[in-house]
Symmetry: C2
Subunit: 306 residues, 2 copies
C-alpha cells in the first residue's frame, strides 16, 4: 500500500537566481530536506556568487541567468522585485519547458505583469510565491535553512498556471516547513499593503521624524524596549523596500489614507481633551492586538516580513 | 576602612500605593534585595489588595492611603498618572516628614504640578521617577522582581527636592539593577513624547486603521512577524495610556506634527514615483535604526516602555 502522506517533489537541479538571504535560505532548506541534487547559482555580483559558493549554499557559480537555468527543473527567482522583469527576459529562452519557476517577491501584481509581458508560453511554468519571512539583515551570510519553517507562504497562481506546477510548488514549500495559502495577486497586494508595507513605511517615517529633530541623538539614547520592537523593521534593506513600496504604490497610498484617518481621530481627541474618546480609541486597538497572534507559528524573534 | 561602594538604603516600611504591575514589581525587587522590612499596600480595589496579599507581594493590605503611609519611610505611588493628584492629597497629612516619596509615572510635568499643588512642605520628600520598563500586560499577577533590572530609570528632581532624598532614590533604583539618569520634568516629557508616546500612538492608530477596513479579520490573519513586533505596544492598557497621552498632550501633538512631515515625504515620493527619493528616505531610517541599540540592557523580550 502506498503511503498517504504527500511525497515532496525531488528536483535534479535548482537554479537560484539571486544569492541573498531569501534565495540562500531556500537553497539551504531544500538541501537539508534532501529535495535537490545540484544547486546552480547566479547573482549579478561576482563577489556574491563566490561567497555563496564558499559558504556551500550553491554547488556551482554561473556567469549568466541562461547558464544557471539551462538544465534546471526548479528555478527560484530571488531578486529585488525591480529586477524581476529583466530576469524573466533572460531566462525565457534558456529554461526547460517542464521546469517549475517561482519567485519570492513581496509584491505580486507587478511580478505577474512582468511574467505576462516576457514569459510567453513558459507562463504556465510560473507559480508566483511570497514567503512571509525574512530578517531585517540582508545577504547570503545570514541565510539559514529554517527561515521558512512555521512561516506562511502565499501562492498567487494565474489562470495560465499549470496545475501540476502549482501542486509541486505547494508541496515544496510545505516540505520545508511553510504553511501555504493561495490568493489572487490583487488580493495579495492589497492585504500586504495593509499588514506589512504600511507598517514598514510607518516605522521608516517614525525614525526619520526623530532624526529630523536637532536633539535626535539624545532622544534615541533614551528610547526603550517599546521603541526597539516598534522600529525593528525600520532597519530593513533600502533597495528591497524601495522596490516593494514602488511596485505596490496604489495599495500603499490607500493604506496611508486609512492610517491618516485613524491618526486624525487620536489627534482630535487629544486636541479636544476628550479623554473618553481617547480611551475608546486605545481600547479598540488594545483589544484587537491582545486577541491577535501570529497564525503560522511564532518561533522567530528577529524575523521581518518583507 | 569603609567600603567605597554606595550602600543601598534599607527601609523599615514601604507603603505601596497602587498594587499593579509596576508597584508590585518594585515591591518584589526591594524584598529580593533585602532592602525593606515590611510592605504595606493600598489599592483602590479591595480585590486587588487581597490578591497582592495572597501573592505575598505585600505583607499588609490597608484600607486607605493614610493608613498605608502612616509609618512608612518609603512611599511608592504606582497609580495611573490621572490618579496622582488624589493620592498626593490623601497622603500629605499622614506621611512622615523624613519619608522618601516617589512615583513611577510615565509623564512628569503633570505629576510635578500635582505634587506642587498638594504636598506643601512635604514637597522636599518627593523625587519624581520614571522607570523605563513595563509589559504590555497589566496587573499584580504579572509583577516580577527583575522588571527594572538593566532598565533605565529617569529621576526629575525639583528645586525643592531634598538632596538626601534624591541620593536615596538614586541608590534604591541602582540597588534593584536600574541605570539612573536625571533630567528636568520638561526635558523628560518632550523626550518620551518622541521615543515612547508617539510610537504607542502610531501603533494604536495602525491597528485601528486595519480594524476600520471591512476585511480586517482576513488581513490580520495574514500579518507576519514584522507586524507582530511593530504593533506589540498597541496591546498596552487603555486607561494607563489615556492618562499618559492626555497628560503629555502638548508634546505628543508636536511629535505627531513631526511625524506627519516625515510621512508626507514618503507619500510625495510614492505619488511622484520618485524611487531615488524613496530609497534615500528609507536608507536614512535603515541606517539610523541599524546603528541604534538599547542603551540600558536588552534582556527583556516582552517589555514595554510605559
Amino acid at each position: 500500500m502506498m503511503s498517504e502522506r504527500p511525497s515532496a517533489p525531488r528536483f535534479q537541479r535548482l537554479a537560484l537566481i539571486g544569492c541573498g538571504l531569501m534565495g540562500g535560505s531556500f537553497a539551504l532548506a531544500l538541501r537539508k530536506a534532501q529535495l535537490v541534487g545540484h544547486i546552480a547559482g547566479f547573482s549579478a555580483s561576482e563577489k556574491t556568487r563566490q561567497r555563496a559558493l564558499a559558504l556551500n549554499v550553491i554547488d556551482q557559480a554561473c556567469n549568466s541567468v541562461a547558464e544557471a537555468v539551462a538544465q534546471a527543473d526548479l528555478i527560484l527567482l530571488a531578486v529585488p522585485v525591480g529586477a524581476m522583469h529583466g530576469s524573466f527576459a533572460a531566462l525565457r529562452e534558456a529554461m526547460q519547458p517542464h521546469a517549475l519557476l517561482m519567485d519570492v517577491g513581496s509584491t505580486k501584481c507587478d511580478v505577474v505583469a512582468a511574467a505576462q509581458a516576457t514569459l510567453g508560453e513558459r507562463l504556465s511554468c510560473f507559480v508566483p510565491a511570497h514567503p512571509i519571512a525574512g530578517k531585517e539583515v540582508a545577504g547570503i551570510e545570514h541565510a539559514e535553512s529554517t527561515l521558512y519553517q512555521d512561516r506562511r507562504t502565499v501562492l498567487t497562481p494565474l489562470p495560465q498556471t499549470n496545475m501540476q506546477r502549482l501542486r509541486a510548488a505547494h508541496d515544496v514549500w510545505v516540505a520545508i516547513g511553510s504553511h501555504v495559502s493561495t490568493m489572487t495577486p490583487e488580493a495579495h497586494d492589497s492585504t500586504f499593503a495593509a499588514v506589512s508595507h504600511l507598517p514598514h513605511l510607518l516605522a521608516f517615517a517614525a525614525v526619520n521624524a526623530l532624526v529630523a529633530q536637532p536633539q535626535s541623538n539624545a532622544l534615541l539614547e533614551m528610547a526603550g524596549p517599546g521603541f526597539r520592537d516598534f522600529s525593528r523593521i525600520a532597519a530593513s534593506d533600502a533597495a528591497v523596500w524601495r522596490d516593494i513600496l514602488s511596485a505596490n504604490q496604489t495599495e500603499v497610498l490607500k493604506q496611508i489614507s486609512h492610517f491618516r484617518t485613524a491618526l486624525a481621530q487620536f489627534e482630535n481627541a487629544l486636541k479636544q481633551g476628550d479623554t473618553s474618546d481617547l480611551q475608546q480609541l486605545i481600547q479598540q486597538a488594545s483589544e484587537v492586538r491582545s486577541g491577535w497572534s501570529l497564525q503560522a507559528g511564532d518561533a522567530g524573534q528577529i524575523a521581518s516580513d518583507t
